[in-house]
Amino acid sequence: MAATIDARFVRELERICGSSGIVREPLELLTYECDALPHLRAVPPVVVLPDSAAQVQQVVRLCSRESVPFVARGHGTGLSGGAVPVPGGVVIGLSRLNRVIDVDIPNRRVTVEPGVTNLEITRQVAPFGFYYAPDPSSQQVCSIGGNVAENSGGAHCLKYGFTVHHVIAVDAVMPDGELVHLESALTDAPGPDLVSLLVGSEGTLAIVTKVVVRILRKPESVRTLLAAFDTIRGAASAVSEIIAAGIIPAAVEMMDALSIRAAEAAVHPGFPAAEAVLIVELDGNGAEVAELFPIVEEICRRTGATSIEIAADEQQRARIWKGRKAAFAAMGRVSPNYYVQDGVVPRTKLPEVLERIRALEARCGLRIANVFHAGDGNLHPLICYDEKVPGEADRAVEASGEILLYCLEAGGSITGEHGVGADKSEFMPKMFTDEDLDLMLRVRAAIDPGHLCNPGKVFPTPRLCGEVPGPYRQHPAEKAGLAERY
């Protein structure tokens, strides 16, 4: 069905993007074989690097006409294999679409191209006292287009929400090559909220070529504490009591003994050697923070904190956060290899699920560090292994899959922020019924009837096997309707 990429097709791509906008060298192509999840790889036959939305549109039109699949790629920091090339497909790299189009302080919005990094948006508006709220740990390097595709979150999304809560509008090239402007429900645009459908669709519905985000006033006051606990349960009960007191912190992060040790070895944040540390940050109006912060401190003491450090200044605060944000990379200090998992449980189930992870650790003989967004129950177990020891890598993947089952049994989700991608599509049927998935696939087929836009991601492959699912073949009107868009 899908055409192969031949010399003529490549010439067409070159005509669109210019000779500097096309990658064919085998060595250069290796750069695009995976994202930040290293165990899923595929060398693409060709990569294009368009430098305008019009070029993206022409490339997609060409692919659509010739039934060649395509995958959008931002900065390749994804952790679920979302940007992994698909067989016989074109990778459309968006790094050259990196212009900041408009900084509109009076209207509190910024318009950027998708290749602009998350942090760049904050850099643009910081001089005016504003910032862009979603703050993934990868914010210095990940692209806003990737954030939109993954609905990325960050440590502060407990209070401020995820990417979807901050995207006002997008321009997108649809799988048929139509370039459209879509506005979210935030603008009162009538009709279904297509922006919230695109956000988090992991590049399977469209290629985003422009993003309008809202920016927030930098909070007047920020106060951060680091509390150490003898047990994870103690730390978890502190979190519960803070919430029960009616306080929604900007962030509540937890790290266990192994991840504390790794962070210490890597960036020396001065964390106490404890079973668990909790980072709690309150921000907002000065009077409010001043009133609530002592309550948080009191709760930490009451629930058994063995030590509490309150950041006295911005420098101390930055040091605490450095310890937390470096936690993934720091695992390299305590283990040759590690696998990052991303699952979610209802906050109250944290202690129970962590105990199951402890038992799993003993059973599978691999160390598992836990770093997580405790406020919203988002776990990031880091499974340590040594790829040189035969069988360990497989055991790590197995253990990491088992943790997802614990999350589901606790009423949670298989991913809180890293996405399903190519990595976890097989777990989708464990979270959703066939009927649930079928509905999502119907929506997908309505938008991408040719199944060319990042195929093989999110949904389990056996269902997709080259064929568009059921109802669509019965409704040729569908095709006619979409064809009108040319």
Partner: protein, 416 residues
């Protein structure tokens, strides 16, 4: 439309749901539905939809009935499905700050239940008795939108009944979750054209410990702009910032509500009063009463209510436009989320004049997405309810065909 109403009433597909023929009170823009059914379970909703598909019956969903004026005039309605039979609180996980409700529960019912644990679902909609499902389907919101956004911003999971008679879910029960398409958020604004919303799961918030509202009368649009700029540029964090006015009749009223910990609420309200340059600070029962009365304002109208949006900094231009709408034999009232650039305009006067005001708003550069929320059918015959949908219309139509291939749901009424 082969079956007679009597035959419909006898149909087994009603599966025990309460059914009766349509009455005057059920009319939608003067059109009486042939049959009104009130399913009591999600399964009943699904089987009714399957049967409607089989028989080719057009369907309109009704929540609290507060938004019956929305939508185009239907050509005919076979089934009016009242969702009020599905009004249970399915779960309130107070320690996790989440809850699941059936879609026919009203915001008031839901908040009465959540209040027992001093939590709330901070949504308000135009009109008392608005249901959760209705608020999502119409993307309705009120003053609380300033802080908490629209219904989709708190929605974390949804259960739908589709036209093929299935019950399906998207999202989940946890506040953070990116598995699969977020079909719940997509349903926002879908206006009952894609599927029935049978239940929803929301992220909740703790109820604020204290609340104070600054209420100020401001003589002209210049003083309004000055006050708003001062508020917006400050580090205050209001729950709501509302602006209300009757063009040419009364001064502007600015309401700024601060609800947080006790000392901070007092401090912020006092500071806001300074920035606005006057006004009184109201709290307690009096404050609650003011907001209740305020909420009712835009909803209660014999004329037209439109919803519209503008860039926040364009407010002076919007107010200038608004003031030009005042005239002798009609009245216009503005109720706005002033800091966001969103609001409602109530238009009372002759039918032609109502229609002309809508057209003037649509022609103006400063406002966008002028949508009719309620209007006499005669106004709807003159101007389209939804206005231009843009590129999204084509994509939404493709989704509509996928989910409702026979075009039965809210046939002819909805945006798609």
């Amino acid at each position: 439309m082969t079956l007679s109403t009597d035959a419909l009433l006898q149909s087994s597909f009603l599966a025990g749901a309460i059914a009766r023929s349509g009455k005057d009170a059920d009319r939608i823009d003067g059109v009486a539905p042939r049959l009104v059914v009130e399913p009591r379970t999600p399964e009943e909703v699904a089987s009714i939809l399957a049967a409607a598909s089989r028989e080719g019956l057009t369907v309109v969903f009704r929540g609290g009935g507060t938004k019956r004026g929305w939508g185009r005039i239907p050509a005919g309605v076979d089934l009016l499905i009242s969702m009020r039979g599905l009004a249970r609180v399915i779960a309130h996980e107070h320690a996790d700050l989440t809850a699941t409700f059936e879609a026919g529960a009203t915001l008031d019912e839901v908040n009465a239940a959540l209040g027992r644990h001093r939590q709330w679902l901070p949504l308000d909609a135009s009109g008392d008795g608005s249901t959760i499902g209705g608020a999502i389907a119409t993307n309705d919101s009120g003053p609380l939108r300033h802080r908490f956004g629209t219904p989709r911003d708190l929605l974390i999971g949804i259960r739908l009944a589709t036209t093929d008679g299935r019950l399906v879910k998207a999202g989940g029960n946890v506040v953070k979750n990116v598995a699969g398409y977020d079909l719940g958020k997509m349903m926002t604004g879908s206006f009952g054209t894609l599927a029935a919303i049978v239940s929803c799961t929301f992220k909740l918030l703790p109820m604020p410990a204290a609340s104070h509202t600054v209420s100020a009368a401001l003589p002209d649009k210049e003083s309004v702009t000055r006050a708003l700029v001062a508020l917006n540029d400050s580090q205050l964090e209001p729950l709501a910032v509302e602006l209300q006015a009757q063009a040419g009749r009364a001064p502007y009223r600015l309401l700024a509500r601060f609800a947080t910990s006790p000392a901070a609420a007092v401090a912020q309200a006092a500071q806001a009063q300074g920035l606005i340059g006057g006004g009184e600070i109201i709290t307690g029962d009096q404050e609650a009463a003011i907001w209740r009365r305020y909420q009712g304002r835009a909803a209660a109208s014999a004329g037209t209510v439109v919803r519209m949006n503008w860039l926040p900094a364009a407010l002076p231009g919007v107010l200038a436009l608004f003031e030009t709408l005042a005239q002798a034999h009609g009245s216009v009232e503005l109720v706005a989320r002033a800091a966001l650039g969103a609001g409602l305009i109530r238009i009372d006067g002759s039918i032609d004049w109502q229609a002309s005001v809508i057209e003037r708003l649509r022609a103006a550069d400063v406002v966008r997405h002028v949508t009719i929320v309620d209007a006499p059918p005669d106004v709807k015959r003159q101007v389209d309810v939804w206005g231009a949908l843009g590129a999204g219309g084509v994509i939404s139509s493709a989704i509509k065909r996928a989910l409702d291939p026979a075009g039965l749901l809210n046939a002819g009424r909805g945006p798609v």
